[in-house]
Each structure stands twice: as C-alpha cells, then as structure tokens.
C-alpha cells in the first residue's frame, strides 16, 4: 500500500526541551544515578551468587579429598577389618542388656539389703560433709609435731562431737531403718572421729548383709549369670585376631599418610629449586628435597599380611557364631522380674540375627579387593547416606550426613507440630474474634518474640526448660507417656519446643495476613446465608486463606531448620541417628544438627582439611535446603491462591 508521505516536522520534543545538559564523560548524570541505584539493587542477587561461590570454593574439593581418604582406608586394609569389626559391635549391645537383666534379677533378692546399705552410707557422707571443718581442724591438730597438749585436743574433740551429734540429730532417716536402728545410727554417727577409719559396727553389718544376699541371689540365678559371663567371653578369641589385624592396618595407613606428606613436600621443594636462580639456594633446596625422600609403602605386600588371614578370621567367626548360638539355646527363661525376662527374650531373639550378620560379614571377606578403585558415586553415597559422622578419630574419619540430617528433621518436625496449631489458632482468634483491646495485647507480645535473640532462648532452654521437662517427666501419673522419665535434660524435644516458640511470630503474622486477604465478599456471602460466626470462620475464611497458612508453615519450617544457636545449646550434641526403635519416646534423645555441627566444629579445624571441606559441604546443603523451602512456599502460595472476587 502506498503511504501518504508525512511532511517532515522539526522534532517538537527536542526543540522544547533543548536545554544545557550537563554530561559526565558523555553520559547523562540522570542515567548515572539510575545505574548507581540499579547496581545497588542487584546487590541481593550478587550476594546470593557470592554465597554459593564461596561455599563451593571451600567445599567442592571435599569429594576428591574424601575419595582419596576412603581409598587409603581401603588400600591399607582398614576396611577389611571393619567388615568384621562393625557387626561385632552388636555383641556389646546384647551383652549389656544381658548384664542389665542379670542385675535386675539379682536385685529382686538383694535390693532391700542394698538400699539399706546405700542409705546408711549416704547418711554417713552427709554427716561428714557437715562436720568437715571441725574434723579437718582436729586431724591437722593431731598431725602437728610436737603434739599439742591433750587439753587442746580434748577441746577440739568435744567440738567435733558436738557438731557430729547436732548433724546426726538433724538428719532425716528414711523408713528403711527401724526405730532401734535409727537410734544406733545416730549414736554411731555422733561418735565419728577422723582417727578411726573402721566403719561403725552397724554399717559393717549392713554391708555384710548385702554381700550375703548378693551371693544368695547369684546362686539362685546361677545359670543366667553363667550364660552372661560365657557370652561375654565368647568374643575374646575373635576380638584378639581382629585387634591384631587392625593394628597392622593402622600402621600401614600411618606410613602411607606420612609418605604422602613427605612426597608432596619433596615435590614442592624440587619445584622451588627449579625456579630458584641462586645456585647456593638451589643446591640447598635440592638437598632438602632429597632428605625428604622416603621409601613408598608397599601396600600390596602389607595387605597380603592381612588378607592371608582371612581364612583364620572366617574360622574364628564361625566358632564364635556357634558358641553364641549355643549360649542362646541354653539361655534360661527364668529371670527375676518381668523386665528382665523381656530383656533375656530379646537377647535370645537377637543372638541368631547377630550370628547371621557375622556369618554374612565373613562371607564378604572373600569378595573384598584392596585395589578396587573408589568411584565418585561411592563417595557421594558415603557422604549423603553415610550413617556415621566420626572426626578426630585415630582409626578413620567418616563424614556421613544422615545422623545430622535426621536430628535436624526430627527437631524441625517437633517444632512445626507444636507451632502450627498454636500460631494458627492465635491468628484466627486475633483476626476474627478478638476485641481491639485484646489485639493490642496479643499482637505486640507475639511480635516481640521475634526480637528475642536466639542465644537467649538457647540459654533459657539450658537453664529453665530442660529442668522443667525433666521434673515433669518424673511425675508418677505421667509415666504412661513413652520415653518418661527422660534421661537427658538437653534433648530433641526441648530444642523442638524452643524452636516452636521462635517460629510462632513468623507463622502467626503470615497466617494473619493470609486471613486478612480473604475477600470481604466471601464473608458477606456466608453471613447472608445465615451461617454462624464459627461456620463462617472454619468453612469459608480458613479454607480461602489456606494457601497463605500453608506457605506460612513452610516459611516457619525454613526458619526452624536454619536456626543455629538454640539447637547448638539445647539439642544435646550427640552425633548419632536417633534410635527410632524406642518408639515416640525417641524424641527425648539428644541429637546433633546440620547447623549445630558447623557452629561447633568449624572453629577447631584447619583450613583445607577434609573436615573443613565437609563442614562447607554441609553448609552448601543447608543453603540449597533453604532455597528449596522458599521455592516451595512460593509455589504453594500460588497454587492454592483463591480466585479474586
């Protein structure tokens, strides 16, 4: 088509706005200002990239380093020993529960005698504590040369007697003792002096009573005691062989590591010598390098010494398995108490499994090859699915991720489980039901929680919450709760409670925002249909705001997983996978976490070591988790978004 040609006009805009523009290096200053601000805006992006870069820079070498370490572990034969040694650890668990069963059985007869003895000794110690000062001054006076005049000693003695009598009178005697015994105890305690080291007669009787009872109990449960002793003894020959091999492997490893250090040193010196121009310096460097030369460890030869004993090892394992299986067969069924009986039964069931595991391990010995290369996938697997995090060990360092991750996840789960109902309920109440005055109380208080530093909450966990939970767990009417009474003050549940408290403000404000954003028309429509307030809230408002609430929960989760100080102080810092076989009571066990391990160990390792790199790897994983959680929260918020009315 033919266009009508428009007459060319002078550009109006430029004519009107023609002004004397300042330029800086030919650029409009307005643009410079704009770029300046734009550059600052991109700082957030840059920081994210930098975080990733620096984490990767320190951490990415972890995989090759760890691979090398695992290779040494295999080549030196440490892995070979661990094949047998690992399942053998089970023996200790079994024998310890057997030992507990034995002591529980023995207690049925000897408990009262033991309690009486222990109580009497405890009382004696209390008396001694109360009279320390006087008795100390008396004993010092007695030691003096020349000896003090008898009158002064007599004064001291009477003072001590007075103090002891007063202390003995002030004690509370348990009702384990009859009235006559109490009187006798009091008399004997009052007569305690530092010179007489013999026990007072009643205490001696009590101790003898206990010994007699204990002997009687041991004869009664003789078969059980014997079985336990036999079981413990069965491992000895096998353990001996394994220990011997372990020592050999350890030596090999140490030599290999030392050789490596010297070799790298030598190469570095040679390199420096090649660069050096001064002939004297060069000569001295070369000489130094030569001094650093050592014989490489002949791994093949040394490993031969270990693998050649595989047959012997297998025989020992077989012998051991037979012995313990026989022990399991003759394990008596009669134990003193119900608990002991279940324990014995558990051991009886556990022994064949253990024997089976030992046999399986022995069968693996044949297929083990010392020169099999360690693939990078094995290393990745060893990190992400490894079940032990062992550092500074004289045997071998392992960097397995699972114990830390499981601790973090269990704590986060507990925290979210507690925080979600509380914060959602609080959000619903303040948003829908509360009067203005209540709102002015609840909202600032909950928002104030955000300002409490996490280290303060961690301190509260140590000083207040830990004792509180422990005391509560000892109440007799709460004993039906699994895990009660708890062993450790600092545990996952404690940490979870505090983290829940920390997560409440985040989840509360975001949930409240979500409820606020529900379109007014929904509520009006519900009211118009005659719904009660409760119905409107739970059938209309909450479902409409569910996306916001879910994303609030997710963001709370992100906050909880990334929190450091509380878990570092309160979670108990035991690096082990929680024993989930204990049922829900497992939450009262101590654990370690991803964040806690970095904070605790990074200060003590040298830069560039595999441990350092492993900690940075954990940091990378944490960073990725936090990005993922954020992404999920956004996705959820978008996915369930209500249609805008």
């Amino acid at each position: 088509m033919d266009r009508p040609t428009t007459p060319s006009r002078p550009p109006l805009r430029s004519v009107l706005l023609r002004s004397r523009k300042h330029t800086v290096l030919g650029v409009d200053p307005q643009h410079l200002i704009r770029w300046f601000f734009g550059g600052n805006a991109s700082i957030a992006v840059i920081v994210l990239v930098l975080i990733m870069t620096f984490l990767l820079r320190e951490g990415i070498d972890f995989l090759p380093t760890y691979r090398h370490e695992l290779q040494t572990y295999r080549r030196a034969g440490l892995e070979f020993c661990d094949i047998i040694d690992q399942p053998l650890q089970q023996n200790q668990t079994l024998s310890s529960s057997l030992r507990q069963a034995v002591s529980a059985s023995l207690e049925t007869l000897s408990k009262s005698a033991r309690d009486r003895r222990d109580a009497a000794f405890l009382l004696k110690r209390q008396i001694e504590d109360k009279t320390t000062q006087t008795s100390e001054s008396l004993s010092q006076a007695l030691e003096k040369t020349p000896p003090l005049p008898p009158e002064e000693l007599a004064v001291l003695r009477s003072e001590l007697q007075k103090a002891a009598a007063a202390a003995a009178a002030s004690l509370t005697y348990t009702d384990l003792f009859s009235a006559a015994e109490r009187e006798q105890l009091q008399r004997e305690f009052a007569a305690l002096t530092p010179e007489v080291t013999d026990l007072p007669p009643l205490l001696q009787t009590l101790a003898a009573d206990f010994t007699a009872k204990d002997r009687e109990a041991r004869t009664k449960f003789a078969s059980l005691v014997q079985a336990q002793e036999e079981f413990e003894a069965a491992t000895e020959p096998l353990q001996e062989v394994v220990d011997e091999l372990k020592q050999h492997a350890q030596e090999t490893k140490e030599n290999a590591v030392e050789f490596e250090v010297l070799e790298t040193n030598r190469l570095r010196l040679l390199e420096a010598a090649a660069k050096e121009k001064d002939p004297v310096e060069k000569a001295s460097l070369t000489k130094e390098a030569e001094a650093s030369f050592t014989e490489a460890v002949n791994l093949a030869e040394r490993i031969q010494a270990i693998t050649s004993r595989a047959t012997e090892l297998r025989e020992q394992v077989e012998k051991y398995a037979l012995v313990i299986e026989k022990a399991a067969a003759v394990l008596p069924t009669d134990a003193g108490t119900g608990v002991a009986r279940t324990m014995v039964n558990d051991v009886r069931a556990g022994i064949p499994v253990h024997a089976q595991a030992m046999r399986k391990a022995a069968a693996q010995l044949d297929s083990w090859r010392w020169d099999k290369p360690v693939s990078i996938f094995t290393v990745v697997g060893a990190f992400f699915f490894g079940t032990s995090w062992i550092t500074n060990s004289s045997w071998q360092d392992f960097f397995g991720f699972v114990p830390l991750l499981s601790g973090s996840l269990v704590i986060a789960f507990i925290a979210i489980l507690i925080a979600t109902p509380v914060s959602v309920v609080a959000a619903i109440y303040t948003n829908q039901f509360a009067s203005e005055r209540e709102k002015e109380l609840i909202k600032p208080v909950i928002e104030f929680i955000q300002a409490i530093p996490s280290v303060v909450l961690g301190f509260i966990g140590i000083s207040l919450v830990g004792n509180l939970i422990k005391d509560v767990s000892e109440w007799s009417w709460l004993q039906w709760i699994p895990g009660f009474p708890i062993q450790e003050r600092l545990n996952m549940f404690n940490a979870g409670c505090l983290l829940a408290f920390m997560a409440v403000p985040t989840m509360f404000s975001l949930s409240e925002d979500a409820l606020n954003n529900v379109p007014r028309a929904y509520i009006d429509a519900s009211d118009a249909l005659g719904a009660t307030k409760l119905q409107t809230v739970f059938r209309v408002i909450v479902p409409a705001g569910i996306s916001g609430i879910l994303s609030a929960i997710l963001l709370g989760l992100g906050r909880v997983i990334g929190e450091t100080m509380v878990v570092l102080l309160v979670a108990g810092n035991r690096i082990a996978i929680p024993d989930f076989s204990a049922g829900p009571g497992a939450i009262f066990q101590p654990a370690h976490t991803l964040t806690g391990i970095i904070a605790q160990e990074l200060g003590e390792v040298s830069r560039g070591s595999s441990h350092w790199q492993a900690l940075f790897m954990v940091g990378i994983v944490l960073f990725v988790i936090s990005l993922l959680v954020n992404w999920c929260a956004r996705a959820v918020a978008r996915r369930f978004e209500p249609h805008k009315a």
């Binding site: 957030a44 975080i51 309920v425 104030f448 000083s463 409760l534 929190e563 100080m565």
Partner: protein
C-alpha cells in the same frame, strides 16, 4: 419439635447446641492465643527476676557499675575455714590468701564469670555500627531503585526473588560466607602478600592482595550487614511507597528531574520512617550469634579494641611515629577481633561448668542483652506509631 409456648419469643434462635458450641470454640481459641502470651511473659519475668539483682543494687548508684564497666575476667573464690567466701580477681587472690594465712582452705576459679561485661557491650556496639552503616547504604539505595526507578520486568522479578531468598538463608550459612569471603578473601593493602592470597595486584608503593581481613570487626560487621539487608530493604521500600504518589507527580510537573524529585520530595518524608524501621535491623544484628562466630567474635579478650599492644617507642621517637601509633590504635576498632554479648552468653552457657557464680554472670549478661535488644525493638515500634500519626496523608 415440641410446640412453642405462647410466652416465649418465637423468633429467638435455637440456644441449645449452636451457641454453646460457639462459646466453647471461642474460648478454646482464646486460651490457645493466650498460651503464647503467657509463655512469653513468664520467660521475661524469669530473666528479670534472676538477672535484675546482678545488674542493680539497693545502694547508690543503684546500678552495679562494676558489672557494666569492667572487662570480663576469671573469678577467684577463696574459702576460709569458717566457711566464708571471698570473691576476687586474679590480682586480689594472692593478697587475700596471704591475709588468711593458716585460715585458707580452698580456692576455686571460674572462667569468664568475674568482672563485668564492658568488652562484650563495646564489641556488640562496634559490630552493630559497622553492619548498620553498610546495610543502610546498600539497602536504602536498593529500595530507592525498587520503588522509584524499576519497571516491571525480568530484572525486577529477579531482585525481588533474591531478596526473598536472602531472607531465608540460615544465619550459620552467612557465617560460612563471611568466613570465606571477608576473613579469607577480601582485598587488603599489604607490603608483602601472604601465601594464601588469591591474587595480588602490585600498585607500586603497595600491593592490593586478596588475602582477607582476618577475624575482625570489619569482617563481622559486613557479614551481619548482609544478614540484615533484606530487613532493611523491605522496611525502606515500604516507607518510600508510603509517600503519596502526588508528591512525585507535583515535583515532576514542575520540571524537576527524577533525582531531584527523589532528593527533595520523597526522601525527606521517608527518612524518619526508614531510620525507625532500621532500628529493628539493629536489634537483629545485635542478636545474631552464628554469623560472628567465625568472623569477629572471641571467647575472651582482656583489652578493649582500641587498647592494642604496640611496641613501646624509643624516647627520641618523632612525633610522626607517635601519631602513627595512635592511628593504629584507633583503627583497632575495625581491625581487632572483639567479644560480643551474644557470643559471651554462648560461652558462659556452653563452655564452662555450671555453678552459682557462673549462673550469676549468665543471668546478668542475658538480662542486660535482652534489655538492650528489647528497648531497641520497643523504641522502633513506638516511634513508628508516632510517625504514622504525624504523617497522615
């Protein structure tokens, strides 16, 4: 349905079930909300009851000046034979022991629990000043771009996403980042670059070497700055957005450039709000522990940062040498590692055995720390309220 008797109101609702349920549910929700309030108040009261006696005293000047103005030290507790306990520091211990002579019975030492907490307070203050300075500069500039310049598009979306994600990064990861970036890599002017230097640019009279700032206030402050950056950006942007659009339009209509508009019509009205909101950032920076663990904090230090040990000058030293030493001492507030209150509390809570003396130091530090942080947060909230009343557009 039973027939309704004439005397009753026929329009009255069914009182039996629904209303009872409503009341019960309402009360359940109310109790749920007040549990949180109750727990918060209980924790605060606990700290107040245990911590206030350490910080205050019944005599003039009512404040335990020793606790607030002395550096932390090892506490020595000496017991005599009458069971009296004397608390003293390392210098006083010998004198008391000599005085007691034969009467001396036992001595206990408790690390970090003696003296006061001046060192940690000063350290935290320095860290906060550096971090807030850096974060305000970057954050406000970023907010100005987001609020005044940015147009919808890829870049804006990316920036917003990055800010959101930055807010979610765990604080200990920031610590690792600070360690890698500032402690070990940041550029510094030196005469001879260290071995670990990533690369060095020779500048003739000196060398710009990327070998890091070591653990110091500057490293910790920069790390903390990035921790609080998202808080500052979000708060500043809100304040900028709150300035009515009309102000900008008026200014533009009068022929002002974009920058003049921002400078004269937007920033003056937004600044008070930005500053008040950034107090919240201060509270956050003061409270963080994990980022400064590897970048700035020390468990124990018996000097303030500007009391650096320097070799004594010869008697005939020039005035220039004296001046140089003073400057070097002054720069210590940036280049020295410090104690910080949160890290001090961590040390007291986790690294030393617990007893009554340690507990006193713990609760005292926690109380002072909490009062500082809480008063910052509270003042931020109050000031914001007053500002809102003042600028009502």
């Amino acid at each position: 349905m039973s027939p309704v008797s004439i005397t009753e109101n026929p329009f009255a609702g069914d009182n039996s079930g629904i209303q009872k349920r409503e009341t019960i549910a309402r009360w359940a929700l109310r109790v749920g909300s007040y549990i949180v309030v109750f727990i918060t108040v209980a924790i605060m009261l606990h700290i107040f009851i245990k911590g206030a006696p350490v910080t205050f005293q019944s005599k003039w000047p009512f404040v335990n000046t020793q606790f607030l103005t002395e550096l932390p030290a090892t506490l020595h507790v000496i017991e005599d034979k009458q069971g009296n306990h004397y608390e003293t520091d390392v210098n006083g211990a010998d004198a008391i022991k000599k005085k007691l002579g034969d009467n001396f019975r036992a001595e206990k030492t408790i690390s970090y629990s003696g003296g006061g907490i001046l060192g940690p307070i000063v350290g935290t203050a320095l860290l906060v000043i550096v971090s807030v300075g850096v974060a305000l500069f970057l954050g406000v500039a970023c907010a100005i771009y987001l609020s005044e310049y940015a147009k919808h598009g890829k870049f804006l979306e990316m920036v917003r996403l990055a800010i959101l994600n930055l807010a979610g990064v765990p604080s200990v990861v920031f610590g690792l980042f600070g360690l890698g970036a500032f402690v070990l890599t940041a550029p510094v002017f030196v005469d001879v670059p260290a071995d670990r230097s990533v690369f060095a640019i020779p500048l003739g009279f000196t060398t710009l070497s990327f070998e890091g700032w070591d653990t110091c206030v500057l490293s910790g402050g920069f790390t903390l700055a990035f921790v609080i950056l998202p808080v500052i950006i979000t708060a500043s942007e809100q304040c900028l957005q709150a300035v009515p659009q009309g102000f900008r339009e008026t200014s533009m209509a009068l022929g002002a450039t974009r920058w003049q508009t921002i400078r004269y019509s937007v920033l003056p009205f937004a600044t008070p709000g930005i500053l008040t909101s950034s107090i919240l950032g201060i509270a956050r920076a003061a409270g963080e522990t994990a980022p400064i663990m590897f970048t700035a904090a020390l468990a124990f230090k018996d000097k303030l940062p500007w009391q650096k040990d320097l070799p004594p000058l010869p008697a005939d030293a020039s005035i220039f040498a004296h001046w140089e030493q003073s400057v070097s001492r002054f720069l210590g507030i940036f280049t020295e590692s410090v104690q910080a209150l949160p890290y001090h509390i961590y040390t007291l809570a986790a690294k030393i055995p617990q007893n009554e003396y340690a507990e006193r130091a713990q609760y005292g530090s926690v109380f002072v720390f909490l009062v500082l942080v809480a008063s910052l947060a509270a003042s931020s909230v109050l000031l914001r309220k007053r500002l809102r009343a003042k600028y009502r557009w």
